[in-house]
Point group: C2
Chain length 335, copies 2
């Protein structure tokens, strides 16, 4: 009797992680948090500090194409990991860069990739302490492994959202994926559309904001790399709570309206499912929210609240309906 083998594309990233995620930890006392948050968390010799670890692999034609400049690809490869550290309230410190490159690639292109990586590292005061450089048959492959440090009393996990907490996001959402759409359509940047290209090619990681929110009692936090819907679901599931957001409150850039004729979906759809904005989504008690300073409050937006009336994530639409917001089962293994 032979049964067909199950394929990776059929179970997706999270199915795969579930399948292999056993027997990972040899020394449980030393590891505070393994797989299952933006970063792994490990004890240090200083009991007031935890060390953070994150890694991101980017493969050409899957995560980036030659539509983006090599400098921008390099810059963004670093930002992915910095943003994971920001989402725990931490400070990035060191990174290791592995590159897989075809022998037929021009040396100039690698220098430009590195130029972008170094620009991002300088901006966030990160040391590039090592790496590996190997041949890849066809695609450029970039793997960044990054460490950070965080106050062990202030660290914010995904799992701490409490009933009654506010749900908030930083910045405006959906700009990066709109920027990608414009790149793919070969649109030339104009004063109206420039912000989308910048957000897609040179996103900023919210390190200082993440630290401030951690100091002021954020209860759960994620960076928005896979779209707001997916990140909210991770917080809801990890925190064993429900989240209700209001569509009207989601901050989408007003300038989206000026270029709406170029888009195939509403700005809200880009915010919910677009990804790569590298903003923060977090929960916080009302009391702590009111104690935040003006500058911080100007940088964030309340979009909903944490509830025990249901599990998962729901949204009150502009039309007044309550709908369930799924992660869209985002599957890296299907085209």
């Amino acid at each position: 009797m032979s049964t067909r083998q199950q394929l990776v594309s059929e179970i997706g990233e999270f199915g795969l992680i579930d399948r292999v995620n056993t027997d990972m930890i040899a020394d449980g006392l030393h590891v505070v948090k393994g797989i299952g948050d933006d970063c792994a968390v490990v004890r240090t010799a200083d009991e007031n500090s935890f060390q953070l670890f994150t890694t991101d692999m980017l493969v050409e034609s899957v995560h980036f194409t030659t539509l983006m400049k090599d400098e921008d690809v390099g810059y963004k490869a670093i930002i992915c990991s910095v943003s994971d550290i920001a989402a725990m309230g931490g400070t990035p410190q060191n990174c290791l860069i592995s590159l897989g490159i075809p022998g037929t690639l021009e040396v100039d292109r690698i220098e430009r990739l590195y130029l972008g990586m170094k620009q991002a590292c300088r901006q966030y005061a990160i040391n590039i302490i090592g790496g590996d450089t190997v041949r890849s048959p066809k695609e450029i492959i970039i793997n960044v492994a990054m460490t950070g440090i965080v106050n062990s009393n202030k660290i914010v996990y995904r799992s701490g959202a409490g009933v009654g907490d506010l749900v908030l996001v930083s910045g405006s959402l959906g700009l990066s994926s709109i920027g990608l759409r414009l790149l793919q359509k070969n649109i030339i940047p104009t004063p109206d559309s420039e912000a989308f290209f910048i957000k897609h090619c040179r996103p900023q990681a919210r390190v200082e904001l993440g630290q401030k929110l951690a100091e002021h009692g954020a209860t759960a936090m994620n960076d928005i790399s896979d779209g707001l819907a997916s990140e909210l679901n991770e917080i809801a599931v990890s925190s064993l709570a429900g989240i209700l957001i209001d569509e009207q409150l989601i901050p989408v850039a007003k300038i989206s309206l000026a270029i709406q004729s170029l888009l195939d979906k509403s700005p809200t759809q880009y915010a919910l499912y677009g990804g790569e904005d590298y903003e923060l989504v977090f929960t916080m008690s009302r009391a702590n929210y009111t104690l935040l300073d003006q500058t911080t409050r100007a940088a964030i937006t309340v979009i909903g609240e944490v509830t025990d009336k249901f599990s998962g994530v729901r949204m009150q639409t502009d039309a007044g309906q309550i709908i369930e917001l799924k992660s869209r089962g985002y599957n890296h293994f299907c085209d």
Copy 2:
């Protein structure tokens, strides 16, 4: 005027590293050693300990093929990094695993890859604390980033070889690349040849030996991942010294003789240029060598000495000639 762009294959891994290796370090006080040794070395809150970092990327069809079982590929991916930590006298602690996999791959194969990685991690008491899982268009890609810990007073770099020191290696060399040769020729393992397959598919990293040598004053150390000639050259260049070895003293497995008809080169050539043995090559004063215990001395072999009479690496051949041993300019970017 247009000049042809230089290609990665024309300058190789080391040429490429030279080209980009500037402006890597933002905080020099914190980083003890960046790029240029088996591991990066970083200060910790405990002044008696340094933290070690290493990363290795393996790409299917370049670093492994389906000639090897998936479990063995996974096992060996971990050993590469453990061996780098052993070469500093350290103890491995945590790792992050990034996998790039085609959507069409059977889930079973990923489970077997992980099985091998977990077996290696359990053996060396390493925690798998995180990772990333992404789609790759065609090849399986594995990136391992690993941390370790080392006594800051005992750590061994590449650069400490002193004139008059002995040059030594652990184990027997060349077995792994002979094993690869047998695999490629579809030879079925026999009692005579089994050891070569085991060395290629399930190499051991010399963690305990590395620690013992560090405690007993090894002055420079490398793991043998790229062949003895290449590793000796790294020590000679980093230590600004010359190394003279004796061909007759290089430990090649006696069992190589039994299968010599299957080989296209002499066992010594496999030892010098074959790679992936994951043994240690190191230097140590004669005085410290004589203080080593019997068990340790049985596991290592003196093959030469450090000199100030020339720079680089030379070998006295069986025929009595002195020849220069080049790294062979091993270039990952040419087939």
